[in-house]
């Protein structure tokens, strides 16, 4: 089932920062990893990825550097910054509250009542 774009757009930066928390990656690698881990649910277009990455870089959440990849090609890698880790932490908390609240509403208020 294809996920609606509006649902995905708010959480994309969270997903990207989470990937970069594990290891530094280049753009194509991020799309492939995201697709693989979500069982093809998050099939991101490059046109969506790069503006988002460039915005994160502008905010100081990620930084870039050049490195030779396994194929020997010089690529632009992204790495998460300490500021980015802080943003990720906040976004995770925000996401947990949000999903819990949505689940609670969908289940008729049971989830929130249980906590």
């Amino acid at each position: 089932m294809e996920i609606s774009k509006s649902l995905l757009s708010g959480s994309l930066s969270l997903l990207l920062l989470r990937l970069l928390e594990e290891e530094d990656m280049y753009g194509h690698q991020m799309i492939a990893t995201l697709k693989q881990r979500s069982d093809n649910t998050f099939a991101l277009k490059a046109g969506t990825l790069y503006p988002l990455l460039h915005n994160l870089e502008k905010q100081g959440a990620v930084q870039t550097y050049e490195k030779k990849s396994e194929t020997g090609r010089l690529r632009i890698y992204y790495s998460i910054t300490p500021k980015g880790r802080g943003i990720l932490r906040d976004k995770k908390t925000e996401w947990n509250i949000f999903t819990k609240a949505v689940s609670s509403v969908l289940q008729g208020g049971q989830a929130c009542a249980a906590t």
Partner: protein, 385 residues
């Protein structure tokens, strides 16, 4: 070759949407890499090279949309606060003129026409906003055209202006552009060594001579001097790869000799003498400075001074500060100097922060012009010799 063109076309379309041209190379490089990666992945999946290239472009998404999203990421936020403060200062200046006209009997006022002044105020604010958003990199793209065009315009203007009133008064405004035009030439100047230094020096002389043809006044030397400071800064930064003391000697010995000659032989030397000693001609060329001196001698720290200011010429323009010192005391000068100093410090910080070399040179030319112009105006209206 076909794939190369396909990728090239896609990247060109993306970059067409990004107004900040410096981002083009980064975006092209990164998206180009991505296209190649995607093509390789598609080939691994078992399709032909051409089909893989087409698929890679399709997977990227619409080029115009991608470009406009990246444009948003790179769009610098306009510094509206800076524009608003500058516009507010212009409006304060406008009301200050009205205040002066209301509070003093002025026998002759040039441009004392409120509706006309309001119209010019509006035009100036619009010009300020347009100037702010102008792409200064045009200086780097067409330096020769701009330099030669400006010199020709300067030389031709007197013939056009011959039929107009206030020819000399308005021609001063063209002088303000000399440092900016010289930045374009200096930025482009491709030659190194002593010939490079002398060549860029000669191009400055062409601008100064063109300025002298338009108006043989001290303003030309002030703006020429600002250009000289820019050239000195480039020399000291090692731009010409020459020995710095020798370079300084080349730059400054002709200037010293020229000024010595000027001091002794021409009317400009006479003008300078009158500026330094206005009492030599108190009813002639030294009249303005003599009148300012009389007003300032009776000025107080706070409160109105004793001597009338109505004999000082041009009170609502150049000598506005003299009026305020007379009306409110030296405290008004202190406030203006404080504000001016803060503006210069703030502008200097912005100039230092400029990342592009051309941007820094343009900012520096404007900053030095503003500082020199402001200092000369302030000292002539409140600190006459």
């Amino acid at each position: 070759m076909q794939q190369h063109n396909l990728f090239r076309d896609y990247l060109d379309k993306v970059c067409e949407q990004i107004r900040w041209k410096k981002a083009h190379s980064v975006v092209c490089r990164e998206l180009g890499d991505h296209l190649k990666d995607e093509q390789a992945a598609q080939i691994d999946a078992g399709i032909t090279e051409d089909e893989a290239a087409n698929q890679a472009v399709l997977d990227m998404g619409d080029a115009t949309l991608v470009g406009s999203q990246l444009d948003r990421a790179y769009r610098p936020r306009p510094a509206w606060s800076v524009i608003a403060v500058t516009a507010a200062l212009m409006i304060i200046g406008f009301f200050a003129r009205i205040y002066i006209v209301d509070h003093i009997e002025i026998h002759y006022i040039q441009g004392n026409n409120i509706p006309r002044s309001m119209l010019w105020l509006c035009i100036t604010i619009v010009a300020l906003v347009v100037g702010y958003f102008l792409d200064y990199t045009i200086l780097g793209k067409h330096p020769l055209l701009i330099g030669a065009g400006f010199a020709i315009v300067l030389m031709l203007l007197p013939y056009v202006y011959d039929f107009m009133t206030y020819r000399l008064y308005y021609s001063n405004y063209f002088m303000i552009f000399i440092p900016i035009v010289y930045v374009a030439i200096l930025w482009w100047w491709p030659y190194q060594g002593y010939s490079g230094l002398i060549g860029s020096y000669l191009s400055l002389l062409v601008l100064v001579i063109a300025g002298l043809v338009l108006r043989g006044s001290i303003a030309v030397f002030v703006y020429g001097g600002i250009c000289g400071l820019m050239l000195t800064a480039e020399l000291l930064k090692g731009r010409f790869a020459v020995k710095k003391p020798r370079g300084m000697l080349i730059l400054y010995s002709p200037i010293v000799l020229f000024f010595l000659w000027l001091w002794n032989n021409s009317s400009i030397g006479e003008q300078v003498k009158i500026i330094l000693h206005p009492e030599l001609e108190p009813l002639g060329r030294g009249f303005q400075a003599s009148q300012i001196r009389l007003v300032l001698e009776s000025a107080r720290w706070i409160g109105q001074g004793g001597h009338t200011a109505s004999n000082v010429p041009d009170l609502i323009n150049s000598n506005m500060l003299t009026f305020f010192i007379h009306q409110f005391g030296w405290i008004s000068l202190a406030i203006v100097l404080l504000l001016f100093g803060a503006l210069i410090v703030f502008s200097s910080i912005l100039t230092i922060k400029q990342k592009s070399r051309l941007g820094r040179m343009v900012s520096m030319a404007i900053l030095i012009s503003l500082t020199v112009e402001g200092s000369v105006k302030t000292s002539s209206t409140c600190l006459p010799p």
